[in-house]
């Protein structure tokens, strides 16, 4: 034992951590925004599609959910460019991976949300002469959103934590910043204590804020 805590070097390089935290949030935010689009489109498609389309969507969901994120990150960043002729930065590559990853989880969330919309609401929509498209936009999606909002918040917070995997392809987010300070200053215990606190505080602040949004959304109409 006999380890003396000394946080001076951490504060001196704190920009690596604060900048990293912002990038982590940004990566999570862009990924979930794209993931929501993927999830919504596929979920709406799934509930009205035939067996083949359902099979393909289910295969995508099951594949992503059962493979480690780190392997998907490697596959998109190191694997894909060897078979298709595109070039992208590590950051773009990671956002694409995390968007596909969150999309798979959100298909499930939205699908169960859509199935939980009471039959009577859809019938009422039909009765007042709404077209199928109008029923989707004005009846099914708003109700589904209210049902799925808690699950959506949880997905966002877990994506925020998953952004740490971006460090393996040198995207300078929070975990990468932690490793940089770890290897350059050797204030190992200190840096991971600070980073743990940063992830925890950010995670719980997000959770609290999202719960407020959920409550507001539930009572606003």
């Amino acid at each position: 034992m006999g380890y003396t805590l000394n946080f001076n070097l951490i504060w001196r390089h704190f920009d690596k951590l604060s900048g990293g935290l912002l990038l982590s949030l940004e990566l999570a935010l862009i990924s979930i925004a794209i993931g929501i689009v993927i999830g919504l489109v596929l979920a709406v498609w799934y509930v009205s599609a035939g067996r083949v389309v359902r099979g393909v969507i289910a295969a995508y969901v099951e594949f992503i959910r059962n493979v480690p994120l780190i392997l998907l990150v490697y596959l998109v960043f190191y694997g894909l460019p060897t078979v298709i002729d595109v070039a992208y930065s590590a950051q773009t590559s990671f956002v694409a991976t995390l968007a596909l990853y969150s999309g798979a989880y959100l298909v499930e969330v939205f699908r169960s949300g859509l199935e939980a919309v009471p039959r009577g609401q859809i019938d009422a929509g039909k009765a007042i002469g709404l077209t199928p498209w109008q029923r989707l936009i004005h009846v099914r999606l708003p109700t589904m959103m209210r049902i799925t909002l808690p699950a959506l918040s949880n997905t966002f917070i877990s994506l925020f934590k998953d952004t740490s995997v971006a460090s393996v392809i040198s995207v300078p987010e929070l975990t990468y910043g932690a490793q940089w300070i770890n290897f350059n200053t050797f204030r190992i215990v200190e840096v991971y204590l600070v980073v743990t606190a940063m992830y925890l505080v950010t995670g719980y602040v997000l959770l609290f804020a999202l719960r407020l949004v959920e409550r507001w959304y539930r009572t606003a109409r």
Partner: protein, 216 residues
């Protein structure tokens, strides 16, 4: 290309075996630790409850990768020297233990209060109440999410490749380093992980259906 991959297969199989071994260790150790801490969280005295609550909320609030680095680089700094294999197992076990604690808490909380009151009324001791009344019922609620969560241990184990441990993930990266056949090897790796985890999630779904209709 195929001959190169065929040549690497025994090496990949070793990595795959290590992935399964790490996962198995983590699953067994975390089950033991998680059940003990979970019982502490539900029935323990206040200080123990708070300690378990803080442990569980902290571990579940940080990325598993940060936990792995913290344990792997942090322990030697304070004078605890573990082989990287055991450091990895320890970190993954801590992570999984926090999950098991929550599964157990949820399962026990789902048992109606009347059950343990009735057990008290017929004079069962605390241990008897747990062993004959609460646990047999809570077990059914605990098992499906727990088996489903085993896939998290298998997926999480891929992160130990970052500590230089030759699990399946690391074996794949090493073979790619020699053969430059990135895509076929990543897909092969994905299929292997998929096979294990999909089988687990099917088993979990089966059990859930089987236990779904058992008396409330």
């Amino acid at each position: 290309m195929l001959s190169q991959i065929a040549y690497a297969l025994p090496f990949l199989a070793e990595g795959f075996a290590l992935t399964l071994w790490v996962s198995l260790l983590v699953v067994v150790l975390s089950l033991i630790a998680g059940v003990i801490l979970g019982v502490g969280l539900v029935y323990g005295p206040a200080p123990l409850r708070w300690a378990v609550r803080i442990f569980s909320d902290t571990i579940r609030g940080i990325p598993i990768l940060v936990l792995i680095f913290f344990v792997y680089y942090g322990l030697p700094a304070v004078g605890v020297h573990l082989q990287s294999f055991w450091a990895a197992v320890l970190a993954l076990t801590l992570f999984k233990t926090a999950q098991v604690v929550e599964y157990l808490r949820g399962a026990v909380a789902s048992i109606p209060k009347g059950q343990s009151e009735a057990a008290m009324a017929i004079g069962l001791t605390f241990r008897q109440r747990l062993a004959y009344v609460i646990f047999p019922q809570a077990f059914r609620r605990f098992l499906p999410p727990w088996i489903n969560g085993v896939t998290d241990a298998v997926k999480g184990s891929a992160l130990v490749s970052l500590l230089g441990i030759t699990d399946l993930m690391q074996a794949i990266n090493q073979v790619i380093g020699r053969t430059y056949e990135a895509m076929p090897l990543y897909i092969l790796g994905a299929l292997l992980y998929f096979a294990v985890n999909y089988a687990l999630s099917l088993a979990s779904r089966r059990l859930e259906q089987r236990f779904a209709f058992i008396r409330e």
